[in-house]
Subunit: 147 residues, 6 copies
């Protein structure tokens, strides 16, 4: 589960894809209870029927949680999360959709302020079963240099 990768070990354009996960009504209910966000967009089917989106739609925070969670398969002990940029949700996630994530190393450069570290940018795209992007973000990592 653990693999040491220094800044120099990240290759631009390197890609990994995760296994998939069907998003269930259970996930919707668990996420409402976990986040405390009971907006009817997510939990009131009758309300949604009267709206353009017609059906309950996933919380953005859930798509982010599960989309990023799917990528958590390997620990790099010399890297840690600095933050996220450009988090977008281009299409809704509905109950029954199956999503998976694709991670592309899109940038890697020394950190001007931290001489022992570099910044790695992983572009994370979350796809549904039709190949449509339902989430997108840049995950910024601080990664130790090898020497």
């Amino acid at each position: 589960m653990e693999r040491i990768r220094f800044l120099e070990d990240y290759q631009l354009g390197e890609v990994r894809e995760t296994s998939g996960r069907t998003i269930t009504e259970t996930d919707f209910v668990v996420h409402a209870g976990h986040s405390g966000d009971f907006f009817p967009h997510h939990i009131d089917e009758e309300f949604c029927k009267t709206k353009p989106w017609k059906k309950r739609i996933a919380h953005g925070t859930m798509t982010f949680t599960i989309g990023i969670g799917l990528t958590a398969t390997e620990i790099n002990p010399v890297a840690f999360t600095y933050g996220y940029e450009r988090l977008r949700f281009p299409r809704p996630v509905y109950i029954g959709d199956t999503i998976h994530s694709k991670v592309t190393v899109s940038d890697a450069h020394p950190d001007p302020k931290r001489p022992d570290y570099g910044q790695v940018v992983e572009t994370v795209e979350v796809f549904n079963q039709n190949g449509e992007v339902v989430m997108f973000c840049h995950h910024i990592l601080l990664v130790e240099k090898s020497n």
Copy 2:
């Protein structure tokens, strides 16, 4: 629970603070099971004892989920989430911390591409019980103009 607010109704500097929530071991366990992220940083107390942070630390996706969830108290039917920028986690959240969120309207301007909409930026800061910022982001909303 619903209040219509058009672009023109947002005031720069306007602030609202949420009620608080104690982050429990239960939240950690629920979040691991919900996200599928079972990294030992979050669920292995013995592992954490050997690390600089000493104790289990919250998943970033959980701090985001609950920090944003706390703000979900009022629906604006003419606004929707466009995305998030500059999501950062300056300090860890530990089991037993109590967090709350503060939302500040930090920008509001017409959207150059969408004539009927403007963009509103809400700066969200999540604080722990010591007044320290544990999460920070810009929440970008698309909001209808009033006419």
Copy 3:
């Protein structure tokens, strides 16, 4: 989330309605596990097929929990729950029903034994998506007088 309302501030006939919530199979399973009540009426579809009600029916304790939970949108710091009377479940709640609650101030009078308090009775009705009452009760509050 907080609004101070003294006994004198409650108006007879005053009504508020909550947003709605679709009751899911997840809620049934969570409630069985939370309450420890695994009676087949709630969790055994084959058993229910042989009974007049034909389908799994919600625990009364769940309809009460969610029906009352929906009303928890505003804290009155000078009021607290004294108890409940006449709790009834006139119709069953099935998986997929969408419920909401209506609260009517049906009585408000000084408390003969507690000179600083009055009793407020809120009649709570829980409706399904067909406008049928699935739960009914009187919620008795003790509320401070304004002087």
Copy 4:
């Protein structure tokens, strides 16, 4: 798990006591998420420290759910719940308390409107580990007559 008991089989004063259950922080968190009631009385330890009750207190709906759930050990196929009366919560339930329920048959009489049924009243008392009553109610059952 099933035992047929007609109206005539209920003995006034008949008592049964349930096994016990320790109420955990997990139950508090699960109940907040299940009910949607995130009032700080139940989930914000810092808020509670500033109040007379000092610690997080259980939702009344949870004490009812678990207190009644503990009694669900035997199905009587010729009885069903008519409703509840006089539901009271004389003392708070805190995290770590261990509760159990005691059920006493306190009334049993023919139902004037339903010639084939009688009403049985079960007084339910829920006790904490110190023998203090934390919940009290009358559970009204409709029970078939034996002939």
Copy 5:
């Protein structure tokens, strides 16, 4: 809930059957999150469509957990679990199946190494709604002798 039964009280061939429980998508999701096993066989509907089994199948650990859990209706304070043998899953459990368990006392003999105890073997079979065996095991109990 408690009944004392010594080794001599177990009758070969004695049978008890439990009530039933419908296995829901919720159980699948809860079990993935509880066990940490997110293999696509259990949670990825699209993956399963491409396999001979066509639909998500229950974790073996879940069928064991619920199949054994259904039998936990009566405590024998003079018996405890020694272990399990021959645990098999002859058919998959799908979402929507309703299972129940049948326990048969298939062996009972003194324990050669523990003079005060005997071993009781309970054969546990878990059936689906079509009467097919989906799980099978031998549950070995150590039970006190009566004298």
Copy 6:
């Protein structure tokens, strides 16, 4: 997450160890609700204080579920579970224990009845933070031969 391994690829004595997981009170409560086993050994702290084991002890089905779940890190598409033998729980698991699993290939041989398959036996040992074995079993796999 996927690696094809035929019968011939398994080496006797081959070992892998999993990451760890702290078993929380939450896991106890979730497991009671998931399994339906509310025996006081697992959920009633006051009951346990009066017994030799003094504290709540984990359900055997939970130790099995999590102990096996920890090993679910890599899918072998040409192997599947045949069953489990000699499942034992030599020591109890308490709230706060941290467990991990060790898997040793202890046998691998052709299956006399299935010419295209062999049987692989993985001995699974689950250890607590003191290095004590809390669970033990043989996991029998059916694995395709390479030709």
